[in-house]
């Protein structure tokens, strides 16, 4: 069972580090997006009335994409600043492929109906959110399969870990620092067990969000004679309803604002989320309006469908969800944590960090243990085994390299020229470029010095971010915190990266001390063997 735990964990740990890093950051994806768009920091505008926002969006879409297959209008939510409109360009016209590849979106100002052109082009926090399940540079299906398989391995690792941890209660509060392998085991146990409810929940609910992709057989089997998959998905995801082929007959779209008002009344004034217009300008147009998620656990979003030309209400979905639908909504909601207030969100963030440290300490524990097992052979003059060297290098590249990559993404946001073509993609490219360099360097010299270099670099980049802010924006900590002018999320971001940078610096200092101690030890007894070269083990 211990063997199962070790191998399930080790095979996928580096992907899981990426998933944890991206996912944990996603808890604050909107705050991150705000930080990455300094042009929006000064505007503390009053909320725009819904009818006006909708009218502006429709006018903009009418002008920009009159023949689109589908329009999306996302109303400005509580934590967002601007309004997002999207459309699916019609096939042909030089646009090929799936609806997903023909999807374009822009941010517009809800008050003026004009695009927020003066805001720099950036994916913001959305990149980090998408990163943790869509990865990048590959078709999303592949990425989601990879992440799902890793999640399944993690689920098995969690259960097998609990089974094999016989002293789980006795060792509940145990942490013995400065004891080499035992310390890593204690760290792994602590970060895993103390946040066990979170780890179990986030893994299982993550699988639930992708469950129809990796386990489609239930749908296919049960709905074979009931209209197939489409029928099932229309029941479960009302936002996808109404996607019929256009009739090819032009007809003016009815005014959307009154429909929105009607929908809101139906839901006793609850705020709306998205308006989807299928086949705008056609006689077979439909409008699907979904309600925002409430602050309860469930992520369910009831929807209303209207005829696009007459405005007649055609269907209502999800108003009376069954217990199972509520359960699914709750499981989905737990993963996304939309319901979390600032304190709870901070707790989720902390647990996510704990997850990152759990995976990292597990991988480091294996490396330390294996190096000790091979110590005699290495002392006798043999090289470290291929597996050991690979894991040690991957550890540095992933554990210390990811912070470097993240920081580079934020640095790129501040330093790339605003008019750069495909600026948003360039920021993302720099994230991966920085990570690649870190990982490559780690492969060359996976030793203590490389750990110190990369941890130190990560620390410098993170601590440097608030400083960079001073030179590149008007909304640095001096203004947001000391003068108290806000926006508060921007100050919180600066403080958080500062704290993370300090933590990385402290880790680097610990390693520096260890290196010095080892060098003193070497000078005192020059006949010491090559076993000293190991990266992390403390030969106390």
């Amino acid at each position: 069972m211990a063997w199962l735990h070790t191998w399930c964990g080790l095979l996928v740990c580096w992907v899981l580090l990426l998933v944890f890093a991206g996912g944990t950051a996603s808890y604050y994806k909107e705050e991150i997006s705000l930080w990455m768009m300094p042009e929006l920091h000064a505007t503390r505008s009053a909320p725009v009335p819904q009818a006006q926002a909708i009218e502006h969006a429709v006018a903009y879409l009418q002008q920009k994409a009159p023949r689109a297959e589908r329009w999306f209008i996302t109303l400005p939510a509580e934590r967002s600043v601007a309004m997002r409109v999207g459309w699916v360009a019609p096939a042909g016209d030089g646009n090929g492929g799936s609806a997903r590849s023909r999807f374009k979106s822009e941010r517009i100002d809800a008050a003026t109906g004009q695009p927020l052109a003066q805001v720099r082009d950036t994916r913001g926090g959305e990149f980090l959110y998408r990163l943790h399940f869509d990865l990048h540079y590959m078709p999303v299906q592949w990425a989601r399969w990879i992440v799902s398989i890793c999640a399944l391995f993690m689920l098995v690792a969690i259960i097998s870990g609990v089974i094999t941890h016989k002293r789980i209660f006795k060792d509940f509060f145990t942490f013995r620092p400065h004891k080499g392998q035992r310390s890593w085991l204690d760290a792994h146990n602590a970060t895993a067990v103390l946040a066990l409810p979170f780890h179990l929940m986030i893994t299982y609910t993550g699988l639930v969000t992708l469950m129809f992709m990796i386990m489609p057989w239930g749908v296919q089997s049960a709905y074979r004679d009931k209209g197939g998959e489409t029928a099932f998905f229309e029941t479960v995801f009302p936002g996808t309803a109404g996607r019929v082929k256009p009739a090819g007959v032009a007809a003016p779209l009815t005014a959307l604002a009154p429909l929105a008002a009607q929908a809101q009344q139906h839901w006793q004034g609850a705020p709306l989320a998205v308006l989807v217009v299928n086949n705008p300008g056609d006689v077979k147009a439909t409008v699907v309006i979904t309600r925002q998620k409430m602050s309860t656990l469930s992520s369910l979003q009831p929807g209303l469908m209207y005829q696009g030309v007459t405005g007649e209400r055609l269907a209502a979905y999800g108003d009376d969800p069954s217990a199972t639908a509520v359960t699914r909504g709750a499981l989905y909601g737990l993963h996304l944590a939309h319901f979390a207030d600032p304190w709870l969100r901070a707790l989720f963030f902390l647990c996510g960090l704990s997850g990152y440290l759990m995976v990292a300490s597990g991988a480091l524990l294996w490396a330390v243990k294996t190096r000790q097992k091979e110590a005699k052979a290495i002392a006798g003059g043999a090289r470290a085994s291929f597996g050991l060297r690979l894991v040690e290098a991957l550890n540095i590249g992933a554990i210390a390299g990811l912070p470097i990559a993240l920081a580079s993404y934020f640095w790129a946001n501040r330093l790339l020229p605003l008019e750069l073509h495909q600026r948003a993609q360039m920021e993302i490219n720099l994230f991966f470029a920085a990570w690649a360099v870190a990982a490559a360097l780690a492969q060359v010299r996976p030793d203590l010095r490389m750990w110190r270099l990369q941890l130190g670099l990560g620390a410098a980049l993170f601590i440097g971010l608030p400083l960079l802010n001073v030179f590149t924006t008007q909304s640095h900590l001096g203004v947001t915190l000391l003068l108290g002018r806000g926006p508060w999320p921007v100050a919180a971001f600066d403080l958080t990266v500062l704290a993370l940078g300090i933590a990385l610096a402290m880790a680097e200092r610990v390693l520096a001390r260890r290196q010095r101690k080892r060098q003193d030890g070497l000078q005192a007894a020059p006949a010491k063997s090559r076993v000293e070269r190991d990266p992390v083990e403390e030969t106390a």
Binding site: F172, F173, F175, L344
Partner: protein, 120 residues
Amino acid sequence: MTALGFLLALGLAYCAWSALALAMDRHYAELHGRGAEPAPPVRRRLRQLGVLGLVASLAVTMRMQGWSVGMVAGLGVLTLSALLQVLALTYWPTRGPALTRFVLFGLPVLLLLWAMENLL
């Protein structure tokens, strides 16, 4: 969740973990000398207090946020307080109980303020 409620729940859970830790041989021995073990009635009492404290902490979060969200928040509070307790036990083994006593005496004040906040 308000700051007061959060701190109250955190404090309750922290003291509860202290009691549960003290009921264990290893951490009892850290204070009372190697090989010392808590007498059975003492161990039982400590465990009971610990469980009571955990339940009280959950009760606070569930009062603030309802059953489901409150349970989620409560588990998060338990995680954070357990982490703090591990750090205290590791780096301040002899001064840990003093810290727990400090938190314990602060709890009635927090409780009063939180109750007032709820009633007003």
